[in-house]
């Protein structure tokens, strides 16, 4: 019984770090949905591309150059964000803008096509097999409760995930709240036509949303690549669906909702893996998605959507 508290602490820590990744990706889903009402099915692939760009950058720098570790991680993040930003922009221009205004299913099918394309694009370029990511951080903080009790270990890489995510979330919240672009994007999510009439370049806002979402997903990708140590071109699919679950859980269209949903999903999954069975953790995530959509499609913080004729 004395193990209960340290075990719980460990699970909560693991759940938070996993949930932080989901939250980063979920924001991309939720922002795009909030503005143009489509599910960007290819968003998970952007996360995967971000992870690859991080690895490419790391390999280009080399692990033995004596560059300080924080700087190295920062460079990886910045390069990954820049490249995936371009991906997000191009994605919207090529696959989504031409079908804007068509029925929802047309846009969704286009997004599914893009998702399949990007997976195989990466598989063709960098190979379909697992790639190893060199370990940048070793060790972590360990707590021991008593002599024989269960020790809590917090690897530095997972701490990094939480810290970076919190910083980005604060930055994003301030940006959306106070910057000109943030205000424009809030206006667009309320009423696109009206915003357009009031002189907001809505195309620019939509592009910006895709770029921002892609950048956040890339951060998630780079951080998870460092933590887990391997990646392949097909990691984006499952994570993408889970992040979408997180966005729906929090209420799709709501940015704080996506953050909350991500963290809750991460916790739920970790606890399911720890106390039910690790094989069933994916089923828990999908089951959760189905249940929320059935019983509370607006999510925790979402607004009900009214269907207009």
């Amino acid at each position: 019984m004395s193990d209960l508290i340290p075990q719980l602490t460990q699970q909560i820590f693991n759940g938070l770090s996993l949930g932080a990744i989901y939250a980063l990706i979920a924001i991309g889903y939720t922002m795009v949905y909030g503005i143009i009402g489509m599910i960007n099915f290819a968003h998970g692939e952007i996360y995967m591309i971000g992870a690859y760009v991080g690895l490419v950058t790391l390999t280009a720098i080399g692990t033995q150059t004596g560059m300080p570790l924080p700087l190295m991680v920062a460079v990886m993040l910045v390069v990954a964000m820049a490249v995936t930003g371009v991906y997000g922009y191009t994605l919207e221009r090529v696959a989504y803008r031409p079908v804007r205004g068509s029925p929802r299913l047309v846009a969704l099918i286009s997004a599914i096509g893009m998702s399949i394309f990007l997976q195989n694009w990466m598989a063709l370029g960098q190979g379909a097999r697992d790639m190893a990511v060199p370990a940048l951080f070793s060790g972590g903080i360990n707590f021991n409760f008593g002599e024989h009790a269960f020790g809590v270990s917090m690897p530095y890489s997972r701490i990094l995930i939480i810290v970076v995510t919190v910083v980005l979330m604060i930055g994003l919240t301030l940006f959306i709240k106070y910057s000109r672009m943030g205000r424009a994007s809030r206006a667009c999510s309320q009423d696109m036509h009206m915003a357009n009439l009031l002189g907001i370049d809505t195309n620019k806002v939509i592009s910006f949303t895709f770029v921002l979402g892609a950048m956040l997903a890339a951060v998630g990708g780079v951080l998870i690549a460092i933590t887990i140590g391997k990646l392949n071109p097909f990691i984006g699919f499952i994570v993408g669906i889970k992040a979408f679950t997180a966005a729906v859980l929090g209420g799709i269209g709501s940015i704080p909702g996506a953050m909350l949903g991500g963290v809750l999903l991460g916790l739920a999954e970790t606890f399911a893996a720890a106390y039910i069975s690790s094989q069933y953790k994916d089923i828990v995530a999908f089951g959760l998605l189905v249940l929320i959509l059935l019983f509370r499609p607006t999510g925790l913080l979402g607004k009900p959507e009214v269907e207009k004729v």
Binding site: M38, I39, Y52, V53, L55, V56, T59, A60, A82, V83, V86, Y87, Y89, T90, V94, A95, P98, V99, S102, R104, L105, V106, A107, L108, I109, S110, I112, G113, M114, S115, I116, F117, Q119, N120, W121, M122, L124, G125, Q126, G127, R129, M131, A132, F237, I241, T245, V248, Q279, Y280, D282, I283, F286, G287, L289, V290, L293, L294, P297, E307, V309
Partner: protein, 410 residues
């Protein structure tokens, strides 16, 4: 013109950024180390192509604009004179395998399986307008129903077939009941989630489904109770070739499977053609076009959607049982999302709701990859690209069905 050049220049730069980390800097694994090999020429070529392409964009797009309007549409209802033609086509389809090679008959069987699945999905996506991304889940239910019935109760194919269809339909019903209240894109994601859940359950229910290894040794279908093997599996039993007085040939099984697939596909085609002209079919189409109008006319959307969903699932179940019998083994690997996407792509490419289009697309998407095996690794890439391009240029599909309709001038 200057603006054009600037635009093309920006596009080329973006292309460079996009291609660089994927093809320009290739990662190579060497033991535990990851090395890198630059390949800048590829990036430069891609940039040049995009630059020139963007400059000549106007002229390059002309043929596509024609394509948008130029392709034919099918008339709403096939006219009576087609009956002879259809009969002739069926006759040819029945006869040709006897005069052709084994591999082409095998491919044709695959085409027919996909035609059947796509026609089933066409009921859900094309007629009723419900995007179902978990179709392969029902396919899996059908396949595993037969496999499990064989493994645990010794059922043969023909006894298991109706049960497989019924099980898949039941799954469709149970899933559809709560889910169909949801709006289109949510529905798509939930069905996707269900498809994945079914696959994960098949992997994880080890004691029951044999986990990732799946179930093997599933018997092939019999001909009216007679086995099509060299020797009867039970002493005293007679095999097909003994009764017919033929010498045994492996080819017979291949042709038999082909004919069965043909029958399944024809039945699916026939049933769905009839259904769409029945009141329920009209209701599907009406619902797809305008749900609110339907509701105000007194149609019950949930019930109508449910009927489409259940029927589609049933055809997937039949297809799954046949698939299990043909392969002789089932494992969860055969039922991934990509399979769902492939069937969906067939429906989309053919033109949602258009049966001839769906048949054409199923043939194209199965035969072309078989012919172009050396391009196998590009297959999925092109496949995704085609889905996007179709949605951008011709969302109604290759051979859309023309519907009698009137639109208000806007």
């Amino acid at each position: 013109m200057g603006n054009n050049v600037k635009h093309a220049f920006v596009a080329a730069i973006l292309t460079g950024v996009i291609v660089m980390p994927v093809f320009g800097l290739q990662l190579i694994r060497q033991g535990a180390k990851t090395l890198m090999e630059p390949n800048f020429s590829f990036v430069l070529i891609a940039m040049a192509i995009v630059f020139v392409g963007q400059l000549c964009r106007h002229w390059l797009l002309l043929p596509f604009k024609k394509l948008k309007r130029g392709l034919p549409t099918l008339p709403a209802a096939p006219t009576g004179g087609n009956k002879l033609l259809i009969l002739a086509l069926v006759a040819v389809a029945v006869i040709w395998p006897f005069f052709s090679g084994r591999s082409s008959v095998d491919i044709a069987t695959l085409v027919l399986i996909y035609i059947m699945l796509a026609l089933g999905l066409n009921i859900v996506v094309g007629f009723a307008g419900l995007l179902d991304l978990g179709f392969v889940g029902f396919y899996a239910v059908g396949a595993y129903t037969y496999a499990l019935l064989y493994q645990w109760a010794g059922f043969g194919f023909w006894e298991a077939l109706p049960i497989a269809g019924a099980m898949a339909a039941l799954f469709g019903f149970i899933l559809g009941f709560p889910v169909l209240r949801l709006r289109g894109d949510y529905l798509a994601i939930v069905t996707l989630g269900f498809g994945e859940i079914i696959r994960l359950l098949l992997i994880n229910l080890n004691q029951f489904t044999n986990g990732p290894d799946g179930i093997s040794g599933i018997p092939k279908p019999t001909v009216f109770g007679m086995e099509m093997q060299r020797r009867a599996s039970e002493p005293g039993g007679q095999t097909f070739h003994e009764i017919m007085g033929w010498t045994f040939q492996n080819n017979h099984m291949v042709i038999y499977l082909y004919l069965m697939a043909l029958m399944f596909a024809l039945v699916t085609l026939f049933v769905s053609t009839r259904l769409i002209r029945m009141p329920v079919g009209r209701a599907w189409e009406a619902l797809r076009e305008d749900e609110i109008a339907c509701r105000s006319l007194g149609l019950n959307p949930t019930r109508i959607k449910l009927s489409a969903f259940t029927l589609g699932a049933m055809f997937a179940g039949f297809g799954g049982a046949f698939f299990a019998a043909r392969q002789g083994l089932v494992n969860p690997e055969s039922f991934t999302f990509i399979e769902s996407a492939l069937i969906l792509a067939i429906v989309v490419l053919g033109g949602m709701g258009s049966q001839v289009g769906v048949i054409l697309a199923a043939t194209l998407l199965t035969v072309v990859p078989e012919l172009a095996r050396e391009f196998a690794e590009y297959r999925m890439l092109i496949f995704g690209l085609v889905m996007v391009l179709m949605m951008v240029w011709r969302p109604q599909g290759l051979l859309p069905m023309k519907r009698p309709h009137v639109e208000l001038a806007k």
